[in-house]
Amino acid sequence: MLTTRVSRIAISLVLSALFFTLLTLAGCAQAEDDGLGRPYSIAVFVPGVVEGSPTYEMLVEGVRRAVDEAESATVRVVEGGFNQAEWAGGITSLAATGSYDLIVSSNPSLPEIANEVSQSFPDQRFLILDGYWEGNPSLRTVMFNQREQAYLNGYFAGLVTTGGMPNSNEARQVGLLAGQEYPMMNQVIRPAFIEGAQAVDPSIELDFRVLGNWFDAGLAADLANSMLDRGVDVILSIAGGGNQGVIATARDRNAYVLWFDSSGFHHGPGVVIGSSLVKLDQAAYERTLQAIDGSLEFGVGEVLGVADGYVTFDDQDPNYIEFVPENVRAQHAELMQRLVDEPMEFDIPGAN
């Protein structure tokens, strides 16, 4: 009896040790400090995990580049995980340490959190990318013109569905798969995407679907199949891990996929045929450098777009040049120039 009890306790201890070891090993990549004791201290709060997220990889890369160049700063990267309810606690904890001159992050929901935290820690400075807030002297935000970005994708989709690619069909249907419905999606990206497509041909229709999460690639594959059944031949996929399901379906059925925010050609050469980009790494690098040298103005919410060079279309990727016909590329390049000459107005949903 006693032996059984002892062995149960031993097993429990071994299992606990195993789990803690795994968690510790997994956490090894979560924090990094160059530990040189440089005077300007920066914390990068990642609302998720860095690996596998091009946006957060760009954020961290941009800040690191600035720190390396300044040679008078330190950076610590903290991953806040996927539970949005824990982000406010994570930001508050960082601010409460009083150790960081600047907290950098990136997410549309972060400005509101930073605004609240700054009420308790008014000396803490925040730089938030991909979000918008005006008037808080502790807070600097950088927003990208997602109307222009979605318009770029929509216009390209319009060129594709009107016969621009070898597998384009007769139907004038373009698809948009969203991971979730949220204000920026419903009020900006979706309307701008179809606006762009209809700038090519007003008869083009949009088939809009929602995945309901950011990871179910199997369901995303089924949604993509359903869209293709209805005549769609090109899909803009903004569904996180679900994008992989869209690629698998498009590959099987000779359709096309467009990418958003980062270059996605390597995910499916010949299937992913267009990628709109936001140069978040460049913005993170430049604004961090300004923060370090003291020239960054706080209390400002800035919007960067095509004309500024921060929103663009990846027209240099070899896959783009190889798989997209020259006339399509030329027409899209003309659109880029038009947006440089005449930027599109951008009403930010829920802007304060």
Binding site: A26, E51, G212, A217, L219, D222, S226, H267
Partner: protein, 293 residues
């Protein structure tokens, strides 16, 4: 829609059938989700290393088997709480795979490996002139065609073999087995290993269909598979019907998004709403009628 529903059904059915063995042996395998996830990861890694779909499926099966043995060892052999062990295995899979993926391939995210073959379709292009028949029987991915024999085999083993009868006795009255000199734990172990193989194979179908592994690729399907065991009255054919109903509900919600002017987020809840309703009906029917479930 029927075509895609059958594709969706296949992994649910394999995991559900495996879970049925464990359930009938008196062990609720709540680790199906974690076993599917491990199966998906192992399938992609193995398929990439060997260039073979079959080897990938075998890798997935073995990964499920490994976790199932861990379940047996801790939960049955060491008499740990079965629910805690099941949850721990789900957490172990979710936590250790990103670590392994990072250590082996340098990423915790999407794992797109070279040399992973595409899941082949069978009977592609065959037609009978009846679209419904064609959608049900032709052109599906290779793994789907494993599921029908699996249902028949499960029914045969559980109903017609001494092993199946003893396994069911283990769940209903283990003392009877002991009285004839048999050890119920051996049948619990066999049942858990079968459930692990089913879940691992199901995970391999999910990943190999996509050609990539990505975190949370099982997306709750292990839990749905668990529900199909009860909705199917703990019978193989019942599990088949329950899995098909869920897949059809998902197919309806997918197709409806393209037709109805109802927010997609609401339509996506349809399979889960139907599952809850079905559980209520199941519960009510159990109260009014006799059942061996």
């Amino acid at each position: 829609m029927i075509y895609y529903a059958i594709e969706v059904m296949a992994p649910l059915l394999l995991a559900g059938l495996g879970g049925l063995f464990a359930e009938l042996a008196g062990v609720l395998n709540i680790a199906l989700e974690g076993m599917m996830l491990a199966g998906a990861f192992a399938a992609i890694v193995t398929a990439s290393l060997t260039g073979s779909i079959l080897a990938g499926m075998l890798g997935g099966l073995l990964a499920g088997l490994l976790l199932a043995y861990l379940f047996y060892f801790v939960g049955i052999r060491m008499r740990a709480n079965i629910f805690i062990v099941g949850l721990a295995i789900n957490l172990l899979a979710a936590g250790s795979i990103p670590f392994l993926s990072s250590a082996m391939y340098g990423t915790k995210g999407v794992l797109r490996l070279p040399n992973v073959p595409r899941m082949p379709g069978l009977f592609v292009g065959m037609e009978t002139g009846f679209p419904l028949i064609d959608q049900i029987f032709f052109g599906h991915s290779f793994g789907v065609y494993l599921t029908v024999p699996a249902v028949l085999l499960a029914g045969l083993v559980l109903q017609r073999t001494p092993f199946g009868l003893r396994l069911r006795s283990t769940g209903k009255n283990p003392e009877t087995l002991r009285s004839v000199g048999l050890n119920p734990d051996h049948y619990r172990r066999a049942a858990l290993l079968i459930s692990g193989m089913g879940a691992g194979l199901a995970g391999s179908l999910l990943a190999l269909r996509l050609g990539v592994y990505l975190p949370n690729v099982s997306a709750g399907r292990g839990w749905i598979a668990l529900v199909t065991i009860y909705l199917g009255y703990k019978r193989p054919v019942g599990v088949l019907i329950a899995a098909l109903c869920f897949a059809l509900a998902e197919g309806v919600s997918v197709a409806a998004q393209g037709v109805l002017q109802i927010p997609g987020t609401i339509l996506l809840s349809l399979p889960y709403v139907l599952t809850v309703l079905a559980m209520i009906v199941y519960s009510a029917m159990r109260r009014v009628g006799p059942s061996d479930a």
